[in-house]
């Protein structure tokens, strides 16, 4: 059940998207998100959808794998849609008792839902095609200019990569401890809210202990290998732009231009 969370997971495949430089993918993701807010009509979203579809096709990640990750945000999506639908003032479309659905409300609700779905799919495609290590490498490199403001870029990137690395480990651990307690007759499902919260103690205590133990071990192992932060540290595999990255930037530029064009013209 916990394994269904695909957000932040990597999907192994041999595709052009996988081979792109993580910087290119990060920039592209940010650009795609911006584009979602540039366009504001059906034509624009069609272009965005086509762009996304082509990228997904190229990435060789099965579509249902991406959709599976969407399950986790259904609730968020629902709230957004409902609020926009009922609380936007404007020309009434349907009116039942005190609840009115306005034309503007319907429009924003659909718009927000589409934006949100595209946003999540877009960023999932990035995390699915980039290993966490590569991702943080790319981030570190992109954020390097921030060093002038005394922001510890390397440390932040390191923390992120460790956190990402530990998500599947902790999920697996949760699964294991849960099973062990169920084998001892624990019940995580039935009962009222208080009883349910109480039943989490046998799960959370061992989980925290295990997380601390792992953190401790990792810190020790890093110490033992003389890790001392980003100062004077070089990379074994420095990031290098290749030809496909150039092409990717070019395509991205065209896409953005098209989006802006649609916005200006219509």
């Amino acid at each position: 059940m916990l394994r269904d969370i695909t957000l932040g997971q990597y999907y192994q495949a041999d595709s052009v998207i996988h081979k792109l430089d993580p910087r290119a993918k990060l920039v592209a993701t940010i650009a795609f998100i911006i584009s979602l807010f540039i366009v504001n009509n059906a034509l624009g979203y069609c272009v965005a959808a086509i762009f996304l579809a082509v990228v997904i096709k190229l990435s060789k990640v099965p579509f249902r794998f991406i959709v599976k990750g969407m399950k986790t945000i259904v609730f968020l999506l629902l709230i957004t849609v409902v609020f926009n639908l009922f609380l936007t003032p404007g020309e009434a479309l349907v009116s039942v008792w005190k609840i009115t659905i306005t034309k503007e409300g319907l429009r924003t609700a659909v718009l927000m839902a589409v934006r949100l779905i595209f946003l999540i799919i877009g960023s999932s495609v990035m995390t699915l095609t980039t290993t966490p290590n590569n991702l943080t490498d790319g981030m570190e490199r992109l954020m390097r200019p921030l060093k002038i403001f005394k922001i510890p870029v390397h440390e932040v990137a390191m923390m992120m990569s460790i956190a990402l690395r530990f998500i599947p480990v902790l999920l697996e651990e949760t699964d294991k401890i849960m099973k062990a307690q169920i084998a001892r007759g624990a019940d995580f499902e039935s009962g009222n809210l208080i009883k349910k919260a109480k039943s989490l103690v046998p799960l959370l205590v061992p989980l925290f202990i295990s997380a601390f133990r792992r953190a401790n071990d990792l810190a020790m192992a890093m110490e033992a290998r003389c890790y001392r932060g980003g100062e004077h540290r070089t990379k074994m595999k420095p990031l290098k732009y290749k030809r496909c990255d150039g092409i990717a930037y070019l395509v991205l530029g065209c896409y953005l231009a098209l989006c802006i064009g649609i916005r200006v013209v219509t």
């Binding site: 394994r3 099965p62 249902r64 794998f65 294991k176 401890i177 099973k179 062990a180 307690q181 169920i182 084998a183 001892r184 007759g185 624990a186 019940d187 103690v201 046998p202 205590v205 061992p206 202990i209 295990s210």
Partner: protein
């Protein structure tokens, strides 16, 4: 109460590209009062198999019967099954959570809905059965040594009074002394209480001394299911799947090849000694 596995298959991550066929057509009968060793190389599916025995995993296809009832029938009482088939996971000490040892062992029987008195009585008995001294009962479980923690965790399952006790690699990460102590303790449980014990291990050496039946797993299938001395006859095939027969088997085989007419079916060092002395005519 016998446990029957009928054509059990299990696939992890069924609908994705990453599917692993972890169990492949398993057919087993686990009768009352037997001491069974479940052996296999790492990744052969031992842990997956034992999680089926108390209904934690549901077979992708096939069925499991406890006392004649299908355990995945909607009206089957899973909680009851879990008290009857006690499963001790690998590194069980990682599941301890209470403020003291005694309360932790009480967790299982308490979940069964027993009275406070009965719960405490069972916890006390279980701790005695695993050989933990009274002085540790009210200490934090986290202050104990590795071997002691493991005993507490085993007691936590024993306190539910299972008919079948399954231990997944109970000796992993213990020193030789701790290992022997735990195994001796488990053998004693089997002998005194007459419960069925399934001991999961990747080491023949560990189980040869104790068990009366060995189930060898390889790549999700049962390779052999027989008495130890029968299984060890296949020592060459066992090597091919990353296992080995006990050292004694090798010594006896070598002796036989050099012309000493010994019986190669002995499984422990003591038996081997007697056998050699017998052949030599000393005894």
């Amino acid at each position: 109460m016998p446990l029957i596995l009928d054509h059990v298959n299990y696939i992890y991550g069924g609908d994705t590209e990453l599917a692993v066929h972890a169990l492949n057509d398993i057919n087993l009968v686990i009768p009352d009062n037997q001491f069974i060793g479940l052996i296999g190389h790492t990744g052969s599916g031992k842990s997956t198999l034992v999680q089926h025995l108390n209904g934690l995993l549901k077979p992708t296809s096939g069925a499991i019967y406890f006392n004649g009832e299908d355990i995945h029938d909607s009206d089957f009482d899973k909680k009851k099954l879990r008290s009857k088939v006690g499963l001790v996971f690998q590194y069980p000490e990682h599941q301890l959570f209470e403020i003291d040892v005694f309360s932790d062992v009480c967790f299982g029987p308490k979940n069964l809905g027993l009275s406070k008195k009965e719960t405490e009585l069972r916890a006390y008995e279980a701790l005695k059965q695993v050989g933990l001294e009274d002085e540790f009962f009210y200490q934090s479980p986290f202050d104990l040594s590795g071997g002691q923690k493991r005993r507490v965790a085993i007691a936590g399952v024993l306190a539910m009074k299972p008919d079948i006790l399954v231990l997944d690699e109970p000796t992993a990460g213990l020193d030789p002394k701790g290992r022997d102590e735990i195994l001796d303790q488990i053998a004693k449980l089997h002998n005194e209480m007459g419960i069925t014990v399934i001991l999961v291990s990747h080491s023949m050496e560990d189980v040869a001394k104790y068990v009366e039946r060995i189930i060898v797993m390889n790549k999700g299938s049962v390779l052999y299911d027989n008495a130890p001395k029968e299984v060890f006859k296949h020592y060459k095939e066992l090597e091919a799947v990353g296992l080995a027969a006990p050292q004694v088997t090798y010594i006896m085989q070598a002796l036989k090849e050099r012309g000493l007419p010994v019986n190669t079916e002995v499984t422990t060092i003591l038996e081997a000694r007697d056998e050699i002395l017998r052949v030599k005519g000393v005894k």
